[in-house]
Amino acid sequence: MFYRENGQFKSSYRSDQQIFPIRQDRWFVAGLLLVAFVAVPLLASNYFLQAIFIPFLILALAAIGLNILVGYCGQISIGSGAFMAVGAYAAWNFGVRLDLPLVVQILLGGVLATLVGVVFGVPSLRIRGLYLAVTTLAAQFFMDWAFLRIPYFTNYSSSGNVSVPALDAFGLPVITPVQKYLFVLCFVAVIGLLAKNLVRGAIGRQWMAIRDMDVAAAVIGIRPVYAKLTAFAVSSFIIGVAGALWAYIHLGSWEPLAFDLNRSLQLLFIIIIGGLGSIVGSFFGAAFMVLVPVLLTNVPHWLGLNMPVDVASHIEHMVFGFLIVFFLIAEPHGLARLWSIAKEKLRIWPFPH
């Protein structure tokens, strides 16, 4: 009853094609943005911002990037951590060597990730499916190695560990958790909106056609080269920016290990649990991925159990493995599907007839 489109007539193409066609959705998104930009910084403690909100936002951003490639274009990538690493190290090098402004550094990091992404996307024109998934591991292992062994990328730092100085954007400091949170939030909001618009536009439809069946898509006049490479480019850009943010804002100082295979698998889990081919699902998945470890470390504490750290991490592994299999069996379309079912139900709730 509260969530339905009755009485909202569309009298122009413009209003028919807008991003949130139902008024309730517009209010909801506006309210969400208000909460995110105003309420959270005012109310959340530093611990919540640093340990939950910032990683959540950055992982959600990276997941949006990966979702464009895997969920929308159907090209499985197990090497997304490599593109995060490229974004992070490229941004850092632009900062150290050219002393560019912070936002420019991060965006240029994304641009370099795009270039690398397109190079590793080229095989997708010949190689498909599982073979492609394995070859994306080439990007992962090559980049791991490159940032570990080629000293130029870490500016000849002896430990291989690099760190960023105090950050500022447009003259405003980005130092306290609240400032960092707002900085990340701006990126996520803008890129999230862009991604949402891309996937519902012409290019997004091409990606989905390629995902559903690339030969058929080619037959009806979609260029696979263009569609696949743009998917790789857009996805790597977003993942690269997310990588730079992860390194700059969340970690502060990092080594190549921060972007290893586990990171790639983590992103893959986020989009599976959240929902393949869904922007909002990326947020759900990321929230899940950030909250479950926090819960798993805290629940035994509340119950008064004292668990050694290594056992706790093994149990975390088990729980994640279990949840992934569980989600694949119970709801292959992820949390985003549950969300849309809930919205469907809300249309007639509480009067079912």
């Binding site: 499985i76 095989p123 010949r126 190689i127 498909r128 499916g129 599982l130 073979y131 998934a133 394995v134 070859t135 591991l137 080439a138 292992f141 090559f142 791991d144 190695w145 570990l148 062994r149 080629i150 069946m213 690339d214 030969v215 058929a216 037959v219 295979l261 698998l265 893959l268 889990f269 599976i272 290594d310 056992v311 093994h314 149990i315 975390e316 592994h317 088990m318 729980v319 994640f320 493995g321 279990f322 949840l323 992934i324 299999v325 694949l328 069996i329 292959p332």
Partner: protein
């Protein structure tokens, strides 16, 4: 020349080990269409079971008959891998029939996380040793032909022989037994196999058990060489390029691919590595197979991929 041969032989022998892991992948893929990312975790859990069980049984028997302890541990570990296979089939695969290959791949990633976790909870997470009496000392052969001869590690040689024997046994099993014939039928065409009365579920249990046994042997060989620890799980990732290079559906491909990757890795590390800072064997195999697949997308011996609208 002697040094070159030594590198090549070393490469061939580590290639046999890769082939062994790759075989596990190929078996499962052929029979159930699942790209089993969990093969590495299976190697880890099998090796952990073997290492700990042989230790416990050894203590229980009083430590005077290591061979008996090892045999018992091997039998128990094999039983354990069978249990894993049954559970995987019951709890996971049965519910994912007819899903896309990518969904199944992701499910096996989940399985691999689960096995990593539970294996280390059950059996501990330190470094353990497996001692099945593999010879440790290297020998020098062909010293009449070259100056200084060629140094061959007997341990690697034993491992290679074990791998070769296992491959032969599997080939026999597939070619000449009833179960093997059923397996090949399932691999060819699920529906046709089912319609002549081959129970798919049981075949999957068999194939995962066989893959588990292969993982056990791999785990023992690698474990006695490097020690049983968590890295075994990632070491199996090094066999992935072997699988795609040889072709996902081809047993001979796994072996030839393994040998190519093994030799390529060693040669690249020795002759190319010093120029770029070393440690390149971790990605060389991947890049090699990537470049190769550009020319032959289905791998060396894989079935040609035909797309129809």
């Amino acid at each position: 020349m002697g040094f070159f041969l030594e590198t090549v032989i070393g490469g061939l022998m580590s290639g046999m080990l890769y082939a062994l892991v790759a075989l596990g992948f190929v078996l499962i893929f052929k029979a159930s269409g699942v790209f089993n990312f969990a093969q590495g975790a299976m190697v880890l859990i099998a090796a952990l079971a073997m290492a700990r069980l042989s230790g416990w049984i050894g203590d229980w028997l009083g430590g005077d008959s290591p061979i008996l302890a090892n045999l018992l541990a091997f039998a128990l570990s094999a039983l354990f891998m069978w249990l894993v296979a049954v559970l995987v089939e019951r709890l996971v695969l049965r519910h994912l029939v007819n899903q896309e290959a990518t969904t199944l791949l992701m499910a096996t990633i989940g399985i691999s996380y689960f096995l990593d976790g539970i294996g280390q909870i059950l059996f501990g997470s330190s470094v353990y040793a497996i001692d099945v009496g593999m010879p440790k000392d290297p020998v020098i052969i062909m010293d009449t032909l070259f100056d200084g001869g060629v140094l061959v590690s007997l341990e690697d040689l034993t491992a290679a022989v074990v791998a070769a024997v296992l491959v032969a046994v599997l080939a026999f099993f597939f070619q000449y037994t009833t179960v093997g014939r059923a397996l090949r039928a399932v691999a060819d065409d699920h529906q046709a196999a089912q319609s002549v009365g081959i129970p798919l579920n049981r075949i999957w249990v068999v194939v995962w058990t066989v893959a588990g046994l292969v993982a056990l042997v791999t785990g023992i060989v690698w474990g006695s060489k490097f020690g049983v620890q968590f890295t075994l799980s990632t070491a199996a990732l090094r066999a992935l390029p072997v699988v795609i290079l040889g072709g996902l559906t081809s047993v001979p491909g796994a072996i030839v691919g393994g040998l190519i990757i093994g030799v390529g890795e060693k040669l690249s590390e020795v002759y190319l590595g010093p120029f770029v800072g070393g440690g390149i064997e971790i990605w060389f195999a991947y890049v090699l197979s990537l470049v190769f697949l550009l020319f032959r997308p289905q791998g060396l011996f894989g079935e040609k991929i035909i797309d129809r609208v």
